[in-house]
């Protein structure tokens, strides 16, 4: 396609076509309404132009019927657009529940993207993915708010310090696609860009194995768990100073305050950085904070490790 007259980015994900269809529908509606209005204005302005200086037009107060018509019809059209738009949005933010997805950890920081594949392979400002498999990104920022944007996939999500946000896509076409930061983040905001490389499955495996063997997120988390001394209190022994973490992820957990909390990524992160805010039932508030001792990528690895700790009985339930 001649790039000079390109109006759409490449359609390279399962969602791209849906979003474009919605876009064309809205363009169609807009052309109809804007067209009608512009035509009416031009037509009336010419047809009813002043021909003599003392013309006095007929007094027309209004028409309830017209008001109702041009209120209700646009409302109905808006309803359709709202429903369709919401459906596309839900499809775009909810990854399919499948074992096949690749989970990538992402941190944004001024002014670069750090990405990690499940097997530990790390990338900076680039993301290699295979065609035809859902890719799920879990993201956070190390400083200000950024936004992870891939126009070819028609998807973006803000990357916010202090919380995890997620984005998913399934690529459908091989190629190289722009990755942009889409939330102003300071001096080099427009240079916080990169590429998403979509390859077929075989090429992806080759690329992955050819890279520097990093440790996987789970292995990295296990290493940090030991290095940071977590093991000493969360040893799993009875009478230990911290709760046993095996099989804990995903369960409802009781706190000293009497409330329950779901052990999810957000709670684990909070426990690491601000442990005294939610003390576990039956334990004393002695856990120190790890603020400044572990970065966001490290926290994500610890979460991956804790997720992987199964209880003695259950094997596969949590996934």
């Amino acid at each position: 396609m001649n790039t000079l007259f390109q109006f759409l980015p490449p359609q390279a994900s399962t969602i791209s076509g849906e979003v474009d269809a919605l876009y064309f529908f809205l363009i169609g509606i807009s052309l109809v309404f804007a067209g009608l209005i512009c035509l009416a204005v031009v037509f009336f302005a010419i047809r009813y132009r002043r021909r003599s200086d003392d013309e006095t037009p007929e007094e027309i107060e209004g028409s309830l019927l017209l008001e109702l018509t041009w209120t209700i019809i646009p409302l109905l059209i808006c309803g359709v657009i709202f429903a369709w738009g919401t459906k596309v949005f839900f499809d775009a933010v909810r990854p399919p529940a499948t074992e096949d997805s690749i989970e990538i950890l992402v941190t944004g920081k001024q002014w670069m993207w750090k990405l990690q594949h499940p097997d530990g392979t790390r990338e900076i400002n680039e993301l290699h993915v295979p065609i035809g498999r859902p890719v799920k990104l879990t993201m956070t920022s190390e400083d200000v708010i950024h936004s992870f944007y891939i126009p070819a996939f028609r998807t973006k999500m803000d990357v916010v310090p202090g919380v995890f946000t997620s984005l998913w896509f399934e690529a459908t076409k091989k190629g190289k696609y722009h990755l942009f930061c889409a939330e102003y983040c300071g001096t080099k905001h427009s240079e916080m860009i990169g590429w998403v490389h979509v390859m077929d499955a075989h090429e992806y495996e080759t690329w992955l194995s050819g890279g520097v063997d990093g440790e996987s997120a789970v292995a990295g988390g296990k290493r940090l768990f030991s290095e940071l001394g977590c093991q000493s209190c969360h040893s799993g022994d009875s009478g230990a100073r911290g709760p046993n973490l095996e099989g804990l992820y995903g369960t409802e957990h009781a706190l000293e305050s009497g409330e329950n909390v779901t052990v999810d990524a957000k709670y684990v992160r909070e426990s690491i950085l601000n442990p005294l805010s939610k003390v576990s039932k039956g334990y004393t508030p002695v856990m120190p904070t790890y603020q400044g001792l572990v970065d966001e990528m490290g926290i994500m690895r610890l979460i991956a490790y804790i997720q992987s700790l199964q209880s003695q009985e259950g094997a596969e339930a949590k996934q």
């Binding site: 109006f7 759409l8 980015p9 849906e18 979003v19 919605l22 876009y23 809205l26 804007a34 209005i37 512009c38 204005v41 009336f44 302005a45 009813y48 132009r49 002043r50 006095t56 037009p57 007094e59 027309i60 107060e61 209004g62 028409s63 017209l66 008001e67 209120t71 646009p74 409302l75 808006c78 657009i81 738009g85 919401t86 596309v88 949005f89 839900f90 933010v93 001024q110 200000v144 708010i145 944007y149 126009p151 028609r154 998807t155 973006k156 999500m157 803000d158 916010v160 310090p161 202090g162 919380v163 722009h178 930061c181 889409a182 939330e183 102003y184 983040c185 300071g186 905001h189 240079e191």
Partner: protein, 533 residues
């Protein structure tokens, strides 16, 4: 009979700087906002010049970021918000309701001084190194990471907000308490309804901005962790607080402009506005619903999808009253007696451009689509269509329409029509390509960009130079007209409305005798006459 009008009743500087005459205050606002507009325009010119090429060859990144920040700050806080209420609202509201002045004339003067103080403080931030947070001040960048003049700018914006609040109070009191005998609510000109709805927003929303700016200041200067996640704060809380004001703020900008359009369409069709009641109620409806949609700036900020759905839904609702107005203005043209004077050219242009701007707002409110176009040039194009294609066109139409009333002089009609066309063409060439750029994926606030976006950027810059010429021309010929313009009669447009029932320029206290209103608004039909007792 005295031939003194509000302009020549005294020539001393003191009589201007200490005036309590709403008409003089309106002119003082005119001078101030024109100056700020030119400053904001220079920043725009620098942005468009830099963006002609994909690389950063005119400005360094940090300076570019300061320029787009200051373009937004100046245009929004020092032009778009104050212009119509401050210039035309101040000048016309008492005249339109048949009063001698606003309810609180000294408060009115205070509004202008507060505005100028805020302008001075913010300008000093600009002059002494600039600020680069974007006009939206998102945290934690603005609180922790930016190392430019954020604190001074926060103070400047804080102060300026009080100018809005005071004007809003004044207008509300004036409309309630100072209407001439016989002037019931539903006999008011629609411009008054628009100013009233706007004033409600100014009074209710601006304090939220003030408080938000204080919180950012407190965190930045004293390190209190309100928005800092490391201290237990929430950066997204800032966005909620900021947009709770800033969305209603855009209705502060557009509502008075819509009021102007009602006046222009009716006068230059020589007909009562079609669906008067519906337009009046729509103004109030927009003001109310406008407070409920702030989250549509935050669909992707990490808020829940259910919150996003609610905000999207209400966003569609708020579009409807605006659509109703557009349909009613168009219907007013039907079987009218239409002339093509400059104010009408601006009004007709407004209808087209505001329709496009409003429809693209629907695009942005559609969740599935916003995921792609949020934070891209699509947004930039949308808001320039409503703010420039809408507000500024209406403002210029209004200034032309009421220029003879304000100054007693006519502007040169041929030059004015030519510049209206130049503005319309230049505007579309500048901003339409930006819709395309946005959908192609070009993010906003980018100093450098991939090569493939260049052609559309060059088109946009070319349009901007034409638009700039179109704005320069009125500045020149309005100034020229003050000395050489044809003398204007009391009612050169043969319009209906109390402001046209007094001399051009008006006497110091507006009317020689209090008007008594015995007819509906826009009574262009053959049988009605205004009785002045």
């Amino acid at each position: 009979m005295s031939d003194k009008n509000y302009l020549n009743v005294s020539y001393t500087l003191k009589s201007w700087l200490l005036t309590v005459d709403h008409k003089r205050i309106g002119l003082m606002y005119l001078l101030s906002v024109t100056g700020f507009f030119m400053l904001g325009g220079i920043f725009a010119m620098l942005i468009r010049l830099e963006l002609m090429t994909p690389v950063g060859d005119l400005l360094q990144a940090e300076n570019y970021n300061k320029i787009f920040t200051m373009h937004g700050l100046v245009m929004i806080f020092f032009f778009l918000i104050p212009a119509v209420p401050g210039v035309l609202g101040n000048f016309l509201l008492p005249l339109m309701v048949g009063a001698k002045d606003v309810a609180f004339p000294r408060l009115n003067l205070a509004s202008w001084y507060v505005f100028m103080a805020g302008g001075l403080i913010t300008s000093s931030a600009v002059v002494f190194g600039g600020v680069d947070t974007g006009w939206t001040f998102y945290t934690p960048y603005s609180t922790t990471y930016a190392n430019t003049n954020v604190a001074i700018t926060l103070v400047g914006a804080f102060v300026t907000g009080f100018s809005s609040i005071l004007t809003g109070i004044n207008f509300i009191a004036t409309v309630h308490k100072m209407r001439a005998p016989g002037l019931t609510w539903f006999r008011l000109p629609l411009f008054v309804w628009a100013l009233y709805a706007t004033s409600l927003i100014m009074v209710l929303a601006t304090p939220v901005l003030a408080m938000t700016l204080v919180l950012v200041f407190v965190e930045r200067v004293f390190g209190v962790g309100i928005f800092d996640p490391a201290l237990g704060g929430d950066p997204v809380l800032f966005q909620h607080l900021f947009w709770f004001y800033s969305h209603p703020a855009v209705y502060i900008m557009i509502l008075p402009s819509m009021g102007i359009i009602s006046e222009l369409i009716s006068c230059f069709s020589r007909k009562r506005v079609f669906g008067y009641n519906f337009i009046a109620y729509s103004s109030i409806g927009i003001a109310f619903l406008g407070f409920l949609v702030w989250g549509h700036h935050m669909f992707l900020s990490s808020q829940s999808v259910y919150a996003a759905m609610v905000f999207s839904f209400i966003t569609f609702l708020v579009a409807i009253p605006s659509a109703i107005k557009v349909f009613n203005w168009t219907a007013t043209l039907y079987r009218g007696s239409i002339s093509y004077d400059t104010p009408m050219l601006y009004a007709l242009g407004f209808i087209g451009l505001f329709t496009i701007g409003g429809l693209t707002g629907i695009f942005l409110g559609t969740l599935g689509l916003d995921m792609h176009v949020h934070d891209t040039y699509f947004v930039v194009a949308h808001f320039h269509y409503v703010m420039v294609g809408g507000v500024i066109m209406a403002y210029l139409g209004g200034v032309h329409f009421w220029w003879p009333k304000m100054t007693g002089k006519m502007y040169p009609e041929i030059w004015a029509r030519i510049s209206a066309v130049i503005v319309f063409v230049g505007f579309n060439l500048t901003f339409f390509p930006q819709f395309l750029l946005g959908y192609l994926g070009m993010p906003r606030r980018y100093h450098v960009y991939p090569d493939e976006f260049q052609v559309l950027n060059v088109m946009s810059t070319a349009g901007a130079s034409i638009l700039g010429l179109g704005y320069l021309m009125p500045i020149l010929y309005f100034t020229w007209s003050l000395k050489y313009g044809k003398k204007a009669s009391a009612n050169p447009w043969k319009a209906k409305g109390l402001e046209w029932e007094t001399a051009s320029p008006p006497p110091p206290h507006n009317f020689l005798e209090t008007p008594i209103v015995e007819e509906e608004a826009y009574a262009y039909g053959p049988s009605r006459e205004v009785q002045i007792a």
